[in-house]
Amino acid sequence: MNTTAATTTDWNALDNASFRATVREFFEKHFPGEWRYPQRRLRWSEIGPWYLKLSEKGWVAPSWPTQYGGMGLSPEKLIIFIEEQERWGVARAPDMGITMVGPLLINHGNEAQRAYYLPKIIAGEHIWCQGYSEPNSGSDLASLRTEAVVDGDDFIVNGQKTWTTLAQDATHIFLLVRTDKSAKKQEGISFLLADMTTPGITVRPIRNIAGSEDFCEVFLENVRVPRTSIVGELNKGWTIAKALLGFERIFLGSPKQSQYALARVREAGQRLGLFEDTGFVDRYTKLALDVADLGALYGRFIEQVKRGETLGPDVSMLKLFATETYSRLADLLVDVMGSSGGTPGSTALPGGKTDALTTFYNARPATIYGGSNEVQRNILAASVLKLPS
């Protein structure tokens, strides 16, 4: 392993073009071709080797400070890094440890927690999953009921989490739990870290409509978690969880997914000779312009991040337009496939194979996760339009 290289390179000192070239070259040379632009979440067995490769290179945590093994990238450089990932279609590895737990511990954890967990995340030894949603707490997350009761040096946790992405591959879970039932709903919540091998934790994968098992239910039955596993203060978990929604929110609004879907629609249109059909060309062009204009809106928020400004609640617009544009593209793809629009997998067309349904299936959770689009509209109505509640 070559961890010293990571801590001694000052990436921010490079000019943007050289940095971009360096990153691009590495991705193009080393990212496994079979996993480019995956249309589903990859399992650890598939993408784990890439995580370890990044770790070895010292690139697994681009946003973390160098003292914790990160690249210490400035916002501007981080955006370049992510743009290059997206450009090459680099798949997302299970990255909750990198994007959530690391920043959480760096900002709100204690020295012992940082010393224990951070190196193991960097090394790929700990794979984290997120225990937020519950069967009765989705959009209304603060109504969560999983409970942690103090018992000596431990908390005893009981409850159930759901929609936990790739819990079956995780070694650890971070949990929002209720530690004070008498307090108002946002105020009695704490943030806990738990080892998935702790007795009482059971994981059951959920098969989705696309036939894959991207997320799981996690049952917690008398799970003993040491009191030292709390992050931040008791009953202050909600504040921490909210603070974690940093500028990563912007990436829910990246135009990349829609650009990819537009290319699939264009390909299908060409294979089916539809560019001779004015009706199709009109629909296609409208969507092509939506994708282009999404890029302009995205660019505006990216500029804000590059200037080091904090993103306001108006960034929710980006998530709305990105996911709804993606969804309209998925609809058009199913539509042009006509009688093959109900056939899963690849359909052979003149000139190549087209998958009618994967985009459609992917578009369904996109408008739900990360705060459903209805919740995003509530946020915009209250915070930007200042409409009364």
Binding site: D293, A296, G299, L320, R377, L380, A381, K386, P388
Partner: protein, 388 residues
């Protein structure tokens, strides 16, 4: 270095915005726009003189011709401020469309003279290029109107439509097909055998139909010919599409802001109607269209102001922004009326002023669907290359 330049320019733009907004609010309250509706020519020549006094009629004109040689971003501040007050003066049709067309036709002596007079606020030229009733068949590189050369004279036959301003213009830059290909010809409004028929538009202003029946003009009235004429008309057209989008964006902002206020204050069932989630979500969709339009307008203005922008990129961007702005204008207008309820359909309520102007501007020079067709044609080759 560019950063200092950029921040200086941003500061100047802010100053210009503030002064334009305060001028427009003071000199052009909404009741002025209301009073000028259907009163030929549909705008106020004295107000135009006041714009000239501000220096705004010469904003885009080169210094040699008495102008200030500013960019489209500067012009946009003035255009937006006036559109915010639904001012009826034909700022974009005259100063951008005709003004830029003349600028692209320079070094013609006549163009130079007309531009100088336009910058002073004395002459209002208009562009007459469309011939099709829906505009769907109009192209900037062709015209059915015929130009013949006879000894020292030019002879013009044909018809033009959708000319703005439809009344009050001092003359027209007319596109026609002649022996040298596409030609641009200056036709003063008082030329014999020219018939100008003003048609009322939804906002109380006018568009004109021009009929040329053996109209004779001196040879010196030929402004440009051949590829130069096509390039000049196409470029001015694209610049006008972007500037019209600036107007539409200002109207969108005005309508959404009125709607927000109404949702906050109108009480039904014992609470402000803005508390109802279904209405909140509809208002958010309008906000999204506003901000999308704003993002693209900013990009398009930057492209027009960039010295090395190429013609096809400019055309694609212009059609793209006009398509978004036209559709956003109409969507926000419709929804603003619905969210207001019955008051929204009354003539005495000011929302109607915005809606009617949005109808006119969304349709002018090609609506959303037509601009998307143009965009598709312009980008088809690029798409094919990308795919190959």
């Amino acid at each position: 270095m560019t950063t200092t330049h950029d921040s200086e320019r941003a500061e100047q733009l802010t100053l210009l915005r503030e002064s334009a907004l305060s001028f427009a609010a003071k000199a052009s309250p909404l009741h002025r726009a209301r009073a000028l509706r259907q009163q030929t020519p549909g705008f106020d020549r004295q107000f135009w003189a006041a714009l000239a006094e501000q220096g705004w009629t010469g904003l885009l004109v080169s210094e040699k011709m008495g102008g200030y040689e500013q960019g489209f971003a500067e012009m946009a501040e003035v255009v937006a401020a006036l559109a915010t007050q639904v001012a009826p003066e034909p700022v974009v049709p005259v100063l951008v469309f005709a003004g830029r067309l003349l600028a692209h036709a320079v070094p013609s002596d006549l163009a130079t003279r007309l531009l100088t007079e336009m910058a002073e606020g004395r002459t209002l030229p208009a562009v007459a290029w469309q011939e099709d009733i829906t505009g769907a068949k109009d192209r900037t590189d062709q015209a059915a109107t015929r130009l013949e050369r006879q000894a020292d004279a030019l002879l013009l036959n044909g018809s033009k439509r959708h000319v703005r301003p439809g009344a009050g213009a001092d003359g027209y830059i007319v596109s026609a097909t002649g022996p040298g290909g596409l030609a641009l010809v200056w036709v003063p409004a008082d030329t014999a055998d020219l018939t100008v028929t003003s048609q009322p538009l939804a906002d109380g202003s006018y568009a004109a139909q021009l009929d040329f029946n053996n109209v004779r003009l001196p040879a010196s009235h030929l402004l440009a010919e051949g590829p130069n004429a096509v390039a000049a008309l196409t470029r001015a057209y694209d610049e006008t599409l972007v500037s019209t989008s600036v107007e539409l964006l200002a109207l969108v902002r005005g309508m959404l802001s009125m709607t927000q206020d109404y949702l906050r204050t109108r009480v039904q069932f014992g609470k402000p109607i803005g508390t109802f989630q279904s209405l909140q979500h509809r208002a958010v969709d309008l906000l999204l269209q506003q901000e999308l339009t704003a993002s693209i307008v900013t990009q398009a203005l930057a492209l027009l102001d960039s010295p090395d922008s190429d013609a096809s990129a400019r055309s694609a961007m212009a059609s793209r922004v006009k398509s978004r702005a036209s559709d956003a204008g109409l969507q926000v207008a419709r929804e603003a009326v619905q969210l207001h309820g019955a008051i929204g359909v009354t003539d005495e309520y000011d929302l109607g002023l915005y809606l009617q102007r949005a109808l006119v501007l969304a349709a002018w020079l090609g609506n959303g669907s037509q601009q998307r067709r143009r965009y598709a044609d312009l980008t088809q080759n690029a798409t094919e290359q990308e795919h190959a």
